[in-house]
Symmetry: C2
Subunit: 325 residues, 2 copies
């Protein structure tokens, strides 16, 4: 995917969210109200519906289906030492993976990548699981969403970043091993300015305009035999840089990068988007409970840019002999 | 999409599920066990994690993110008189819509489609909502997942089928107004044999093999300006025909049809697939709690075929002057 296309997509995302973003930013309580004002539905948990009893009067009982099991979706929330992840059983990729880094946590060097190995996540039922064989010879790296290097405080924590529920197929050269890696490094460097940094990372599947007919289409590869794991078109990170005070300020930054080779000369700020753009594209919400007066803009406070270090050098520096993929 | 391609996809789905389907069919309790054996994660509800307290010891607290709100996904479960639906905020389509029909419910004719109108579902936050304008001039019908004609027992019940959370973009001629409609009629006719029929309907986004490079890709249009609502490549129905006895037999049938014009000569059984194929493709589970000894195969018991009646005639017969779209 060309940079031009990427820019166009980000532009569309931004355009899509322009007025709406502002509106949403200034009315988060209003949004909450609306989302709870379901006409005849209740914000009932599946557990309530699982009883199979009619919640509404009438000659039929649609919720009676649940006597055979609740269809889902189940998002396989996994809480590890180094991350919390949510999984998409249809696309066999995480929906989001959340991490937390601090100057102290990054200073602890109790783990080495060479002792970790990629693992299928047995917490996900076999038919919905991403498998090691899906990635084998797919042409894509097993791309960490929460980087292994962010979890060096214990070997167990680092090992947990190697579950495939923390992984997506990523382009290797020019992306996972290069620009994306520099971007991860940027996130770690934020701990030089902020005492506590939270990062949510995940895949996106964005449409682009087909020049032949002007229609917008989402198109992505599915790897594995039979086809099993989707190859995201893009990845996002939403960054929460905290000032360390209870109820203090949170500097927010959102970035969307194409799953493609990106030239190191490309400014990181070219990939900055409104958080609302990530929310619209992912169907998620990131700041529903964060009061407006506590929100700052990350890239207005720090220099949002990457520092390029070659992959081979980085491997040497970190003493990480095993390849990322 | 050609019928050949469709067949290939169904074949792949079936092939993908062959041995696994059998295995799953005979080990549903085993699957349940596995899905609950999360290594260090818990099947905790988001509510527990929303406290922002560390569930695991360590120098960092990834779950602390939830102080700013739980990202989701939220599936906007809606319980109506005529249906229960789950919504995909990313694709702006339902994930599944469940209904229940009986000979008695279908005999009640207290509603007329001419009094119903398509409605945006205000229970879904604006930025994740499918909008009437997304469908306008899109070239696609607003295709009911639970058909209006299945909810004639009250005007309110029928009206509720017109929420866009019960709708997907469907090809009109040759599909929504033709083959798909005949298929819906087949489902209603099942009440001549079974006293109680449950149907789950929803969209699929299936990969197909690109002949140019042999890779499997999912490709679908997104309608609206800006692009907002995905156009599914296929639709599924999973049918539970109950014998009416408590703990009685349930005849199961699963069908996957392409969102494309289908010739009326095409046998319905060409679209029959193992339920496991729908589960793999949708990420859902439909029969987790249904004991194996209660399961029968629908198309072994009844003649799974459509009866063709022209759309215009059908409109006259039913006194439904307004077009389906």
């Amino acid at each position: 995917m060309s940079k031009k296309t990427t820019l166009a997509i980000v532009a569309v995302l931004s355009a899509a969210s322009g007025a709406a973003a502002a509106a949403a930013l200034y009315s988060s309580s209003e949004r909450t109200r609306i989302s709870r004002a379901k006409p005849v539905s209740s914000p009932a948990s599946p557990d309530i519906l699982r009883t199979g009893k009619a919640l509404l009067t009438g000659p039929v009982d649609p919720a009676g289906l649940f006597q055979y099991g609740f269809p889902g979706p189940v998002n396989d929330l996994a809480t590890r030492h180094s991350l919390v992840s949510s999984f998409d059983r249809r696309l066999r990729n995480p929906v989001w993976v959340a991490e937390h880094i601090t100057p102290e946590s990054l200073a602890l060097k109790n783990a080495d990548r060479k002792y970790s190995s990629f693992m299928e996540d047995e917490a996900v039922p076999p038919k919905f699981r991403a498998k090691l064989t899906d990635y084998f010879r797919s042409g894509y790296d097993r791309g960490h969403q929460v980087p292994a290097a962010d979890a060096r405080f214990s070997q167990e924590a680092m090992d947990e970043t190697f579950y495939l529920t923390n992984m997506c197929p990523q382009v290797g050269n020019g992306f996972n091993r290069d620009y994306w890696s520099h971007f991860e490094d940027f996130c770690r460097r934020l701990t030089q300015t902020y005492p506590s940094v939270r990062i949510v990372t995940g895949p996106l599947y964005l449409p682009r305009r087909d020049p032949t007919d002007g229609k917008w289409r989402v198109s992505y590869e599915v790897v594995g035999n039979p086809p099993n794991v989707a190859v995201p078109t893009h990845f996002y990170k939403v960054i929460f840089a905290e000032d360390g005070k209870t109820g203090g300020n949170v500097s927010l930054g959102a970035f969307v990068l194409p799953n493609a080779s990106i030239h190191n000369d490309k400014p990181l700020t070219d990939f900055e988007v409104p958080i609302e753009a990530v929310e619209r594209a992912s169907g998620l919400e990131f700041t529903e409970k964060l009061p407006l007066e506590r929100r700052k803009r990350l890239c207005a406070e720090v220099n949002c840019s990457i520092i390029v270090r070659q992959f081979e050098d980085r491997q040497k520096v970190k003493g990480l002999p095993s390849p990322r993929r």
